[in-house]
């Protein structure tokens, strides 16, 4: 059953990535150059609406959603910054590179080979950095902004714990959707 869901949801995710143009490096490069914000609008819309859907289901039927919140530590920030270099230079990210290669883009194949090398280099580097501040410094740990985020009966720490998690998530979701709608198609002109 789970494998069937993997096939259906995976194919749907890949097809949607292709259809929104996320597999096209032009859109990522132009988004980062701030000359074409369509992809950013799409992603703001997606995160906002998905958040509203997930937390609505969570409100109707508590503890049925398969939440999985990752920890925030210094490595998330530093790793994100290193990711940012590759993201800008390559114009691809891990998910879109695989989908791009599948639609026949040759440059994406080189990105994937580089990615396999990069993740292997990290596997080698891990034993040297696992005891450093990269892993020691917590930037909030496994916490969420909204309360009521459960996994295996355990609730994650909530930043806005004084109010209903559904309200928090829906408000954030609406803000994201407004950003998606109001964001101009370009923040700056092509040089």
């Amino acid at each position: 059953m789970e494998i069937l869901l993997a096939i259906i949801l995976g194919a749907a995710f890949g097809a949607v990535l292709q259809r929104i143009g996320a597999t096209n490096p032009n859109h990522i490069i132009d988004m980062l150059k701030l000359t074409d914000m369509k992809l950013a609008k799409t992603i703001f819309m997606a995160i906002g609406l998905a958040s509203i859907i997930v937390f609505t289901v969570n409100a109707i039927s508590p503890q049925t959603v398969h939440f999985s919140v990752k920890a925030a530590y210094l490595g998330v920030l530093v790793g994100g910054m290193i990711f940012g270099i590759g993201f800008a230079v390559g114009g691809l990210c891990p998910g879109t590179s695989l989908s791009s290669a599948a639609e026949g883009r040759k440059d994406a194949v080189f990105f994937i080979i580089g990615g396999l090398l990069g993740s292997w280099l990290f596997a080698i580097a891990y034993e040297h950095i696992k005891t450093t501040d990269i892993y020691r410094t917590s930037l909030g740990g496994k916490s969420a902004l909204a309360e009521g985020v459960f996994r295996h009966g355990h609730e994650y720490n909530a930043i806005f714990g004084f109010m209903s998690g559904t309200v928090t998530a829906v408000v954030i979701g609406i803000i994201f959707i407004i950003i998606a709608a109001k964001l101009p198609n370009a923040l700056r002109k092509e040089d």
Binding site: A11, V54, V65, H66, G79, M81, F83, F87, P94, L139
Partner: protein, 227 residues
């Protein structure tokens, strides 16, 4: 009549190819009636992406991709060095471990996945590739032959230079996956899945990414082409 056609298919390879093309064309027309071809608008695309991400989170687990790069590394590594994945049996249960600290992480979960690739996350990623391929055949935006080697945004700055583009893509891949593994997730896991769960880590990751990626993109691709 049907039987004769059946035989013709097996007799002539050309006819077979033509028939397959015809079937694909008919399917394409059907798909085009349902969904208009080309790229989705931000609204339609955003709704579609939201539905996939939300359904996955509700039914199974949040979407993530970059972990599968480590699993693939481990599968490749295993063929060179058998000891990288070790299996011990205890109480009839198989326990996976690795001498590499990273692959050994989370009770050897990467070692376990590499030995049993028919698992949800790995199949999800393979199927994602199939979905993207089918989408580009059935109505999705199509890249030209040149675009498939060198994207326009790259051409604007560096001209049509496939070797240089492949080098940039390769370097991009190295940094992206190194960073993603340090952060414990990528655009899918931290940004889409993390932020939809209102996870603090998702916001921290997105902040780090755009803080560096925007100036980098402006530096690498923003300047006018030197004439």
């Amino acid at each position: 009549m049907g039987i004769i056609k059946f035989f013709i298919i097996f007799l002539h390879a050309n006819t077979r190819i033509r028939l397959i093309k015809t079937i694909i064309d008919i399917l394409k027309q059907r798909v085009h009636i349902m969904i208009r071809p080309g790229e989705f608008t931000w609204l339609k695309g955003g709704i579609a992406l939201a539905l996939v991400a939300a359904i996955a989170t509700i039914l199974v687990k949040p979407i993530g991709v970059s972990t599968q790069f480590v699993v693939t590394d481990t599968i490749i590594w295993k063929t060179f060095d058998k000891d990288i994945v070790q299996v011990t049996e205890k109480d009839g249960k198989q326990h996976y471990s690795s001498p590499n600290d990273y692959i050994n992480k989370a009770r050897g979960s990467y070692a376990h996945s590499a030995s049993n690739p028919i698992n949800y996350s790995f199949v999800f990623v393979l199927s994602m590739m199939l979905g993207a391929m089918l989408s580009s055949i059935f109505g999705g935006p199509k890249a030209t032959k040149e675009e498939k080697q060198v994207p326009e945004a790259f051409q604007k700055r560096y001209g049509f230079n496939p070797k240089k583009r492949y080098l940039f893509a390769f370097i991009g891949g190295v940094f992206t996956l190194f960073g993603a593994r340090m952060a414990g997730g990528c655009t899918s896991g931290h940004m889409i899945s993390g932020m939809l769960q209102t996870a603090v880590s998702g916001y921290v990751f997105a902040f780090g990414v755009f803080l560096v990626a925007i100036p980098t993109a402006l530096l690498v691709y923003g300047m006018k082409k030197k004439a």
